[in-house]
Symmetry: C2
Subunit: 264 residues, 2 copies
């Protein structure tokens, strides 16, 4: 498919893939490495780097290698302003870490993945660490079964296709999503990562609807998620998610921003 | 020029322009508004929004309007990890606010604009507020005359073309850049914004070179930038910039990251 037949979307995807090569470990790549990592032609890489560098998203360091650029700082401000989870929601999350002694995460679904938008760390040393902005798979984990409620079946099929089991995972996933909807929460043990368990419940949009806007989850080592513990966690997570729904979590328009808009 | 003749760069630029419509004021736009603001065809806007939404960079809220998405959180982490100005440099900047009682900014040049990478606020109520990540023009302001040292003449011409005076501003800009290089600092009064003055000095790369890696600047109301005050500010800024050069400011590879790399 040529760039002229897809309206240039392919180039945008390539540019974002290129930016995705970078994380906090402060990588810098030579052009040759970028060609190898992306599998793109050198001329394409050079053009993309030049465009992204012009916008400050990439930056050629003093060693001639290409790293992440200062233009990201602007997007950082944007992300913090718009995706900062309101303090009352944070407070509910903190309460939940106290009740469960486990780490609490808030996830939203972005197409066929989930993104962590907030985390409150549990008090114990062995913790389930996920950073805000981290993308995670939707084919496993308790939060996934919550977030896939109300998602188009085409999304669920793509999620299944990306799983280790492949497309045939779709049926099982559908059943688990249905069960989670019925019970009001989901439980997982070692699905995504061996030795990691989770319990998650849906946060709904203020105006309701069938698709949850987010999943509130506690996660930790499977050894601490015994049947008895899970029963307690489930009750606590469901109640906390209900409180967050009541407070109102409407991503992209956090309560704080909405409130300050009202002041103007 | 078709998307097929420029290697798709045009689409990448359009996608980034679309993201640039968003800032911390939490705008959300309808498709119709996006069409009006970008001047693009509706089909193009829909395709770009779908692509950016799939990557979590945009997000359709409960009201059906399009806002900034949670995928930006990942970039926020990246920006903070890589562009966090090292604490020793921060300390120099804080000292400078104490010496001058004015706000101190550190800028880098990104193509034909400058980007603020750090700010330390002065103690007075009337302050020169610039946020990290903010893009500012290079055709005026003290920091610009520092940052344009060593820049290709083609950049300077584009900077001049973007100024209120248009391309004929290039000659004056060249002269001012040369003068700033000779003196070791630059001064501006109300060039970019009426009533705002600044004094800036170059920070050089650890290995030297003719092009400064950054400009350290104090900025504030012109009324406080008398000739006598400017003499004192210039001496202080030049000395502070020399200290930052000594500490080593190499953007995209902050000292902290470099140090922790060494530990691994």
């Amino acid at each position: 498919m040529g760039a002229d037949t897809d309206g240039g979307v392919r180039s945008v995807v390539r540019a974002l893939d290129l930016l995705d090569l970078y994380d906090e470990r402060d990588q810098r790549y030579s052009t040759r490495e970028l060609v190898e990592l992306t599998g793109l032609a050198k001329t394409t890489v050079l053009r993309l780097v030049a465009t992204l560098e012009q916008r400050g998203l990439l930056w050629t360091g003093s060693d001639g290698r290409v790293g992440a650029g200062p233009g990201l700082l602007r997007w950082a401000r944007l992300a913090h302003a718009l995706w900062q989870v309101p303090e009352p929601v944070r407070a509910v999350m903190r309460d939940l870490t106290v009740q469960t002694s486990e780490t609490v995460n808030l996830y939203v679904r972005v197409d066929a993945v989930r993104v962590c938008v907030a985390q409150e760390e549990g008090p114990l040393r062995l913790r389930h660490i996920v950073n805000p902005g981290d993308e995670m798979v939707l084919w496993g984990g308790a939060a996934s079964k919550v977030l896939l409620q109300g998602a188009p079946d085409s999304v669920l099929e793509r999620v299944a296709a990306a799983s280790p089991q492949g497309p045939r995972h779709a049926d099982r996933l559908r059943a688990e999503v249905a069960q989670a909807r019925e019970r009001g929460f989901a439980v997982s043990h070692g699905e995504r990562e061996h030795g990691v368990s989770g319990v998650a419940a849906p946060v709904h949009r203020p105006e309701g609807g069938t698709a949850p806007v987010a999943a509130l989850a506690v996660g930790g080592p499977t050894a601490r998620f015994t049947d008895a513990a899970v029963r307690g966690f489930a009750a606590a997570v469901v109640e906390a998610a209900r409180r967050v729904t009541e407070i109102g979590f409407d991503p992209g328009a956090p309560a704080a921003a909405a409130a300050s808009r009202g002041d103007r």
